[in-house]
Structures are given as C-alpha cells and as structure tokens.
Amino acid sequence: MSDTYYDLMRRQGISRRSFLKFCSLTAASLGLGEAGAQQIAQAMETKQRTPVIWIEGLECTCCSESFIRSAHPLAKDVVLSMLSLDYHMTLSAAAGEQLRANAHETIKKHKGNYILAVEGNPPLAEEGNYCIYYGKPFVDVLREYAKDAKAVISWGSCASWGCVQAAKPNPTRATPIHKVITDKPIIKVPGCPPIAEVMTGVVTYMLTFDRLPDLDAQGRPKMFYGQRVHDKCYRRPHFDAGQFVEAFDDEGARKGYCLYKVGCKGPTTYNACSATRWNEGLSFPIQSGHGCIGCSEDDFWDKGSFYDHLTTIRAPGLANLGVEGTANRIGLAALGVAGAALAAHAAVSAIKQASSRGRNDRVSDVEK
C-alpha cells in the first residue's frame, strides 16, 4: 500500500500525457497557474495516497451524487488514483461488516493521518437516536472516527450549517459538524449539493499540498467561496442597467434579465456556481432562468421566500398571528403607527396649549 498516485495511474493505463493534462486542468481549476501544474505532478509522483473515510449522517446523498459527476478532475480519477477512498457506504463494492472492518483497519493503520469526510450531520436530540449507524447513534460514530483524523471535511450544507433538517423548529436537533467536533481542523464545503469540481478540487488541494486550503472567516476555502455568485454572474450587466425580471413569464425573463426582483440570492451567496457552473460547465440555476436560492449559505431555509430577495421576518411567538413581513413592510407599518401617534400627540398638545392660554388670560383678567 505504498504506491504513489502516479504509480497507480500508470498501472491503470493512463498515459504520461493524460496525467500531465490532468495536472494542468486541476491546477487551472484551483487557480494555481503554470507552476501549480508542476507542483501537482511532482506531488503525485512522490507522495503516497492519503486514506479518506467518508461517512454519511442525516443527509440525502446529494453530495455523493454531485461528487461522482466531477469532470475536472474526473471523479473516477480522484477515487481510483488520487485518494484511497477506504470507506464510503454508497460507492464501496463491499457492504456490511466487511466494509466496516475496512474502515476500522484504516483508522488503526493510519492513525492521525487519514481524512474524515462527513456528509450530513448528527441529530443530537434523544441522545442521537434519530440517526442510527451500525446500531449506534451516528454522533458516537462521528466522534469515534474523528478522534484520530488529521482533518475533517464537512461536505455540503448539512455538515457545514445544518441545512433542511436543522431548519426551524429542528425537531431532531440536527447539528453541524463544527459544533460537535471542536478539536480538529474542519473545512466546510457548503452547498446543497456542493459543486462537483469544488469537491474534487478541495480534495486534490489537500492531498497535493498536504495542508488545508486557505479558509475564510466562516471556514470555507477562499478559492471557491471567496466571492458571491452575483460577482461573476453573466447577468450582472442587466443588474447594473436596472433591467429586472418582474415575473417568470414576462418579456424580461425571455430576454434573460437579472433575477434579483424574483428572489435571486446571488448577491448574498458565496459560491463558485457562476464561475465553474454545473455538469461540466454546462449551466447553473441562473442561466436556466431561476434565481439562486442561496443553498450554500447558513440557514438558507429560514431566510424567507426563495422568490423574494428581502428576508421575511417573523416576530418570535407572533408568527401564528400573521405578524410577519419584509423589513420594508415592517418599517413602513412602524412609521405609520408612529405618524398616527405623533398626529394625536400634536392634537392633544394644541388643545392643551389653547386651554392653558385661556386660563392664563383669565388669570391676567383677575390680576387687572
């Protein structure tokens, strides 16, 4: 098991030429430039494969589905050549005890040296019994596997933020990984699912350079989550021009105007969709005519309608009475109430003023 990546690739019949092509494409997708391609090639020729254990908690497997559709690098290359994916419930050929034994063997053999990739998150309510993994609460398995890991990757919005199962009122207390595992470096790769190339790109970077990519203040790799969808959106000129889609069947929608007014969350969403796009760069939601729903942002399920870019605010405890609205609606109502109160105050003031003037007049009459 001391093969380098390069040895493995050659053994699978991949030519030197294809290998170098792969290195330069990967370097380009990571934004590393020409020198980067050399570095990747060098690393892959000399380094041993890093074992990865991929576990799945409360989730929908959309992260895995996305991962296997990666084009640059191809998921096949990543799984078969780059990393040693020792354990993945969905992708592994083996199943049951055999597979689990494999995971335990890796943990024992590569103690402190393997990467734990977590898809989904553990629910903490009822002692974690809402998600059972080999007869044990998932949260216990997560802690056990994370104990000797070098680093933890939080795949997708579930592991990074909580996603739909953590949306209010979060009955199972689904909790993102970084709130459960606090003593390991954690890299968040949010999205529902994350972009395939972003997933393989992050893995490639970690294996090649043997370190975490540069993270932003919220723990996401800057290279993919440094900018908003809005910043590189091809419809941005329509935004700047003031050309907006007002309804999904209007003239503006046909002409491909900006989707801001029909709820596009591109301006508040940090992701690479508008740059890398999806399905081998074919398209992304905005290109197909629907606004971004902000799936890689924290709590995006609880930020109001997907079709209004202003968040609906619900007064705590008053939502059942219908006390909700955007900041503009709430603000306008508050201003209306204040205006009415001030008008009433002005009226009472005027009456008081008039009556006190009358009294003063009477007093001065008496004094005369």
Partner: protein, 235 residues
Amino acid sequence: MRVNRVSGRVLEGPFEPVYVYEAPVRFWHWTMAICMVVLAATGYLIGSPLPAIGGEATFSYFFANIRMIHFIAAMLFVVLFLVRIVWVFLGNHHARSIFVPPVWSAEWWSGLFSQAAYYLFLRREPHHWVGHNPLAQFAMFAMFVLGSIVIVLTGLALYSEQYGWGSVWMNAFGWVNVLLGGSQMVRTVHNLAMWYLLLFAIVHVYMVFREDIMSGESVIGTMINGIRMFKRAPR
C-alpha cells in the same frame, strides 16, 4: 443664570442666551440630514428596485448609478460620523451630550422622567434646559447614535462583499457577516436599521417643531445660529 452642570437644567433666572451648538456641530447636523435623506431614498430603491427599463444593457447604468449615489452618501456619512466623534473631545460640553448621556446622575434620571411626564400630559410645564433635555439626550443616543453605528457597520460589511474574502475591506468588516450569520442577515439588519433611523427622524422633526412652538426655548433657530434663546421665565 444658574445651570446644573450635569443635566443642563436651568435652576434660576435671569435668562441669558447661551451658545450651545458650535459651527462644526451645526454644519455636521445639516449635512448628516441631507445624507440620510439621500441614503434612505436610494437604499429603498436598492432593496425594492423600480420597474425594469428596456433597451440594451450596454447603454444603461441606471441601477449601478443609484448604488453609486448610495455609496458616495454612505462614505460621507461615515466620515462625518467619525469626525463628529473626534469633535466629542474637541468641542464644548454640549458636543458630548448625545454620545455620553450621564446615566450615572440621579438628577439626570429625574429630569428624564419629568420630561416624559410632560410629554404624556401628566405635567403642565417642563423644566428649562440649556442643551438637550435628558429624554431627548437618551433618544438621540439610543436611536440616532446606536442606530447609526449599526447601519454603518452593516453597510460597510455589505460594501466589502464585492471585494471578496481576503480583501482589505473584507478583513476589516467580514466579521459583521460572521457575527450575524451570513450576508442575507446583514442586509435585513441594515434595512431594519434604516427604518429605525427614519422613525427617529420623524419623531425628531415633530419634537423640534413642537418644542419650538410650545416650550420656552428656541430650538430650530439654535441649530442655525447656535444660540439658545429663552422666551419666558421658568415656573
């Protein structure tokens, strides 16, 4: 004329005109007012844009110009606000009042309640004050000063976003994003803070006119020439 140093309450006549608002404060007040009107109008349009305009996107920069005006007025607002904070240390006693309400003074609190009672028509005549009355001081601090700090920080955080993580702007203000749990929330807070400041503005304008007409002191004129005049003897 004898005045309580802490609360600014006039204790005894005879009344003399007092120089309250120095020239920089007056200039600051009116430029801030203009900035706020421009910011609220453009800000509302950024949140709720006008109906789409036609033609080629190449030839129009309409929405970006609205944002540009918003940014220019916002930067002016920030600079003025910072200069005003410097003036707290350089200016006279009254320059401090809305930034540091003397909450440690019992006399100030009793003034606040008596003024509140007056506005609720529970008290016939108000006391006389040289600068802001304690209630006005409190409202200025809680609504204008705190509201401005919130709107400035969230605004700068939103402005930083176009430069992306790792930029100087984001290094300086990205923490607001993290603190509030994402950009969408920063927007909502920024938007709510605008309405909070507008609420302050209408109460402020109403009170100014009411005081000018009904109280014993000049108010609007004071923010023009800086001098507080007393119209009648206190009771």
